[in-house]
Symmetry: C2
Subunit: 277 residues, 2 copies
C-alpha cells in the first residue's frame, strides 16, 4: 500500500486524525529513564506502544535524534513501528531541501536508510529539489506550505505576481498542478492559522494536510478541523508532540501520554463532519 | 576568531576564494578505496590534506554522509580539518530549516556535535527558524538566497509586494536589515546566474556570498567573480565539489584533486580586482 492508502486506512481503523510527533528531549524525560543508555529509544518506543491504536501516523523529528547522535535509535524506532504497528505510517520530519544530486541522497536517507513512509520537504529550491523523492513509488512527499511559527509569514505571506497570490498559495498550487506525481503529495499547514488552512483546502481538493501546532503551540482544534477537513471528514494529519510526550513525568508517563492522545483524538473527532462519525 | 574573521584570514593567507565541497559518492571513489571499511573518511581526508593550502573553506554536504550512515566519519573529518588545518573554516552544508525548538536541535547538531564553523540554513520558515543559530557567537549562518539549480527560480524569482522585489532579493534584504545579528550572516547565491549575484552584492554590501555551481554545474568563473567580488577583490566563497573530488580515478586521485583545485584557484584569481592581487 502507498503512504496515502495506509494513511486513509489508519484514519478509518483508529477513527483518528491524530498524529503523535516524536521529538525526544532527554531533559524532559521522566525520572525512571534518567541515565539509561538507550533512553531515547525506550522513551519513544513506550510512547508509540501506548498510543498506536489512537493515531493515524507517527512523526519522528530527526533533529531531536541527530543532536544526540541517536540515528541508530531512530532507525530502530521506525523498524519497531513497522513491525509492531504495521498499519500506522511513519512520517520522517526532516524538512530537507537541496539540488537534485544531493536531494537524491536525502531521499536515500529518508526512504532507504530510515524506511520512512513519507518525508517533509522544503520547497524553496523548486521543482528539481522535490522530484528525487517522487522516484520512490508510493512514498509520501509532504511539502512545507504555511508553517505555524511566528516568523512563518516573513516569506510565506508575501504577495506574488500580479494577482496577489501569496507565496504559500503558490506552493499549494504548484503542488497540485505540477509537482504531485502519482498522488504522492501532501502539504504542511500550521494549526495557528485556520483561515489559511481553509484557503489551502480550497486549492488542493482532497490532498492530505499535515497540521502541526495544536497543543504546546496553541493552535485551536475546533477551528483547525472545521477549516481543514474534507467533505468526508478526514484529509488531516493533526500533529501533537510535547503535549502528549510530556503529559506525565513519572513511571506512568506512557499511560499519561495515552490519556492525552485519547483526549486529543476525541476533541478532534467532536468537530469532524457527521458523515464520517 | 569568528567564522567571518577566519574566512577573511584564509582568503588572504591562501590567496584563494575557492572552497572545496566534500560530497563523497562511494560509487565514484578511486579504485584503491574499493571495499575499504572507512573509505568515506579516508577519501575526504586525503582530498582535504591535498588541497588545504589552496582553499578558503571546506564544505562537507551532510546528506552524502547521512545516506551512508557515516555521521561518525563526518565528525572525524571536521575534527581532522580543525586539528591539521586550523586556519580553514568548515561550512556544514545542511540547509536546515524548522521552528524554534527544533531549529535549536539543528544548531546543536551543526555547532556542538559536528563543531562546524558555519552552517547553511533555509529561510522559508522565517525569522524564528534562523535565530537559534545566531545564539552561537561567532558562528556563520549562511542563508539560501538564489540557488543554482534549474528549479531555483520557481519560488525565488517570484515578484513580491508592490515594488516587484523578487523573493531572493527580499531574503537578501531581510538578511542585511533584520537577521544579521553580530555580522554572522552570509548568503548562498548560485554561480549560474551572474546578474543575480551582482544584484545581491548590490543589496548586501561586503557580506560573504557562498557561490556553488562552478565546475560540474556549469557556472562561469569569470562572470561569477566579476559580479560577486567586493571592492577589495574578495567576499566570495566559490565552491566546487565534483570537478575537484573526482578529477582523478586512480591511486593519484588526491594529487589530481590538488591540480584541479590549483587550476580553479588560479582561474578565479585571474578575474579578481587588481587591488587585491
Amino acid at each position: 500500500m502507498t503512504f496515502i492508502e495506509t494513511l486513509a486506512a489508519a484514519w478509518q481503523k483508529n477513527d483518528s486524525l491524530l498524529c503523535v510527533g516524536l521529538d525526544p528531549d532527554p531533559d524532559r524525560f521522566p525520572a525512571p529513564l534518567a541515565g539509561r543508555r538507550d533512553a531515547i529509544f525506550e522513551f519513544c518506543r513506550n510512547i508509540v506502544d501506548a498510543t498506536a491504536n489512537l493515531v493515524c501516523a507517527f512523526k519522528p523529528q530527526i533533529a531531536h535524534f541527530a543532536a544526540h547522535r541517536a540515528e541508530s535509535a531512530l532507525e530502530r524506532l521506525i523498524a519497531h513501528i513497522h513491525e509492531k504497528h504495521p498499519g500506522i505510517p511513519v512520517i520522517l520530519d526532516a524538512k530537507r531541501g537541496d539540488v537534485g544530486a544531493t536531494a537524491r541522497q536525502y531521499a536515500v536517507e529518508a526512504f532507504e536508510r530510515y524506511q520512512a513512509d513519507a518525508v517533509t520537504v522544503n520547497p524553496y529550491m523548486g521543482r528539481d529539489s522535490v522530484e528525487p523523492y517522487f522516484v520512490y513509488a508510493g512514498k509520501g512527499v509532504i511539502l512545507l506550505c504555511r508553517t505555524s511559527n511566528t516568523g512563518g509569514g516573513d516569506l510565506q505571506l508575501l504577495e506574488t505576481g500580479n494577482d496577489g497570490e501569496r507565496l504559500f498559495e503558490r506552493v499549494a498550487r504548484l503542488a497540485v498542478t505540477e509537482w504531485n506525481h502519482n498522488g504522492q503529495c501532501a502539504l504542511v499547514v500550521g494549526a495557528t492559522f485556520p483561515a489559511e488552512i481553509a484557503r489551502v483546502r480550497e486549492l488542493v481538493g482532497d490532498m492530505p494536510l499535515l497540521v502541526p501546532g495544536i497543543g504546546a503551540q496553541g493552535g485551536d482544534i475546533a477551528a483547525t478541523v472545521k477549516a481543514g477537513q474534507t467533505a468526508r471528514g478526514d484529509g488531516l494529519i493533526v500533529s501533537s508532540s510535547r503535549a502528549i510526550l510530556y503529559a506525565g513525568s513519572n513511571a506512568d508517563y506512557a499511560q499519561a501520554a495515552r490519556s492525552a492522545a485519547s483526549a486529543a483524538r476525541a476533541e478532534i473527532n467532536r468537530f469532524r463532519s457527521c458523515e464520517q462519525q
